[in-house]
Amino acid sequence: MAEINVENLKVVYRGVILALQGVSMRAGAGEAVALLGPNGAGKSTLVRAISGLLPQYDGRVLDGKIVINGQETQHLPALKVAGLGLTAILEGRPIFRYLTVTENLRAAGHKLTPQRQKELTDEIFTRFPRLYERRFEQGGYLSGGEQQMLLLGMALLTEPRILVVDEPSLGLSPKLTEEVMRVLDELRRDKGLTLVLVEQNARAAFSIVERVYVMEQGRVVFEGTAKEAQADADVMEFYLGGAVAGGFAEAKRYRRRKRWV
């Protein structure tokens, strides 16, 4: 049972900025769910809240619940949340830049026995031969794609049951993005993970998730299967960056009208 339930979550930064205004979402055991939406929609805030890292960003949960594996976690510190088997890969590819690839993996797998650590490290190097080639180099000198692979490897070494990944495609070429998504999907299936994937690149996300939440301005504005989202013209046009006939002005007008309906 590795599932997340978020109920009516409200999050505030510095006591005044309301970043989430009552968000509900869920990811069942072994399910892959995507959180989509434009910049500033509150996706990363939701990731921080789920992983217990809000205090690091001067934020706190104002109201609502986060339930992970049956336990309420909205006020638990990050370490306790990690102890429940949840690992978050935050946005901006937060590897340890001054540590070598091997050291990065070692830091992530610090709780494992040396034997288990070696097994998993070998597995990661088999999955990502490029990381093996560059294992003695500092993480900061890897390319964006390699850093993303390293992060996935690090996450694997924490032996998660729930993996939350924030914008893995950021700054990557379409080909690399495709590769990252493929690996993510593979990992999820091999390890039976529950996956929460946060993305702006909706098309990339659709390929590997079952359900989709679209967020805007701190709210969930659409919830459905990946197929339903792709079939929904509004979602495709306005939240997920489809082209609208008539250009930007027309899109804005259409959007305003929609909001009032």
């Binding site: 690091q56 990050a78 690992t87 937060p94 830049r97 540590l99 830091a107 900061g140 000198y141």
Partner: protein, 304 residues
């Protein structure tokens, strides 16, 4: 030039330098872990020296020094928990002012606890055990080394080097470097960052105790006194010269400054009285002109 005298001076310089190295590497460790410049480092030395003194009332000196280390470690943990942790993430100036305040408070506390008079290590002899450390002084071909110098080389230098190696290769070392880079990323990976940081403060207090006890004269006469606080200032040029965030740098810089001081005492002091105290700071000024990162400072990773 008298070769024996030069060799002897070099050894004495290295012996003192080893003490600087051990104190500065602890200081740098704390800076790496928390980005806090601990202006109370001299007081850490002072308290370590007094703890050693207190233990030396009951035990032989070498044992007293070893027994002073666990309470010193706990003292470091307490400072981190009660004083540093609530301030982390605040304005840098606020933290700096706080450590200066801490220094003044600790000064007062030692005065209250141990009184203003000079103490001699190993004054009492409860169990009729030998008070002094085993005498390691030796003379070889006109080169004489005092017991204190040999002891500081034997104890402090390996400890400083051990820290360098542990930081590079041990599990804790890797975690500390990870936390020093990004506490948030470390927490996200389930690394117990608060504990890693607390241990760094504890270790720093242990290193300061060893340096402080020796500089206060643990290995032969003298006793802890407030002159230690002036001696503690040497940590700053050593750390800056080493690159401020580099433990190996602090070790090399400590030894280097120890050597320079010893030779300046030998050759320059008669020409320019007082130059020995000033010389570490002059060297730092010169080095910073040409190497702003110090000798071993971490260069920023920039991908082009």
């Amino acid at each position: 030039m008298d070769l024996a005298l030069v060799i002897q001076t070099a050894f004495n310089g290295l012996a003192n330098g080893a003490l600087y190295a051990v104190i500065a590497s602890g200081f740098v460790l704390v800076y790496r872990a928390t980005s806090v410049v601990n202006f109370a480092i001299a007081e850490f030395m002072l308290i370590g020296a007094y703890l050693t003194y207190t233990m030396s009332l009951f035990f032989p000196l070498l044992l007293a020094l070893l027994l002073a280390l666990p309470p010193a470690f706990i003292f470091g943990l307490l400072v981190e928990r009660g004083f540093v942790r609530p301030l982390l993430g605040r304005n840098v100036v606020a933290v700096v002012m706080a450590t200066i305040g801490l220094a003044a408070a600790l000064d007062g506390a030692t005065l209250l606890l141990w009184g203003p008079d000079q103490k001699a290590m190993g004054a009492a002899d409860v169990f009729q055990l030998p008070k002094e450390m085993p005498n390691l002084a030796f003379s070889l071909g006109g080169v004489f080394l005092s017991s204190k110098a040999v002891w500081s080389l034997v104890l402090a230098l390996p400890l400083a080097l051990l820290l360098v190696v542990a930081l590079k290769y041990s599990r804790y070392g890797v975690l500390l470097r990870a936390v020093s880079e990004s506490e948030t990323a470390a927490l996200a990976m389930g690394i117990n960052a608060p504990r890693v940081v607390a241990v760094a403060w504890g270790l720093s207090a242990v290193m300061a105790t060893i340096g402080g006890a020796f500089l206060a004269g643990a290995a032969g006469g003298g006793g802890p006194g407030h002159h230690l606080i002036l001696l503690g200032l040497i940590v700053f040029p050593v750390a800056i010269l080493g690159g401020f965030d580099s433990v190996p740098g602090a070790v090399v810089a400590g030894l280097f400054i120890g050597l320079i001081e010893a030779f300046s005492q030998l050759y320059l002091e008669s020409l320019l009285p007082g130059i020995t105290q000033a010389i570490p700071f002059l060297i730092v000024l010169l080095v910073l002109l040409f190497r702003p990162y110090g000798l071993f400072g971490q260069h920023r990773i920039e991908r082009v």
